[in-house]
Amino acid sequence: MSKPQYDRTHHAKKATGIGDPQCFKGEAGPPKFKEGDKVRVRNRSDVFYTRCQVYTRGAVGEITKVCYESPAPEDEAWDNTENPVWFYSVVFRQQELWPEYPFPGDTLETEFTEDWLEPA
């Protein structure tokens, strides 16, 4: 019988004194989107795990910030940290998200990894 060997030191080695997500800086390549870009949230499968909220799917918003690089939560949730991606903050009009929302000025802001966004 063989048991897997887990390296319990890999994150500490990478991030001590540096921080997280700072420790992934430079690993994702150039960001695909920039501030001000209009983007649509893709409706990818959320099988097993996602942090892309279902209430955002299909909505069009605007990128407010190119935030940081980090493994996507779908991968980090299995400790697969070899492929960091860019995370973006996107603002939506609430009337874009909810059919019955009565106040035209209100907004909502939340973050997405690059895979969840496409140009709108």
Binding site: K3, P4, Y6, D7, R8, T9, H10, H11, A12, D46, V47, F48, Y49, T50, Q53, V54, Y55, P73, E76, A77, W78, D79, L97, W98
Partner: protein, 127 residues
């Protein structure tokens, strides 16, 4: 025999051809994704923290500090893998505690038998 008296097909383990895209999505929905669901006004309350809740929080963060898991693994296990029923019927820190117990077993640091025996041992101290 009339159609009204005909026995209905089984509800459990439905045939796959009866599951459309919408039902498929519903079955696979991640329990934690609640934003925008309907709910009614409630009394907003503070809660005094139990000692075991603080201990649980410290255990979960210390397990991550020492590399047993990272916080995202914990969230996935604690907020999704536990399943829809447990998500709503079990206390918030109860899910943290179950996830901590489970990671020790899943990563084979502890066998389930060892956990069961330890639970017994701890219980005996209070008899």
């Amino acid at each position: 025999m009339t159609a009204a008296n005909a026995l209905k097909p089984p509800a459990d383990a439905p045939y796959p051809d009866l599951i459309d895209h919408i039902r498929f999505r519903e079955c696979l929905r991640t329990p934690h994704d609640l934003g925008g669901e309907l709910d009614t006004p409630m009394q907003w309350e503070e809660k005094e923290e139990e000692q075991w809740e603080l201990n649980t929080f410290a255990t979960c963060e210390t397990l991550a500090w020492r590399g047993v898991w990272n916080a995202e693994e914990r969230r996935r296990r604690q907020n999704v893998d536990l399943g829809n029923s447990m998500y709503l019927r079990f206390p918030y820190y109860g899910r943290w505690l179950l996830a901590a117990a489970r990671i020790l077993i899943d990563k084979q640091y502890v066998t389930l038998t060892e956990l069961i025996n330890k639970i017994d041992e701890v219980k005996k101290r209070y008899e």
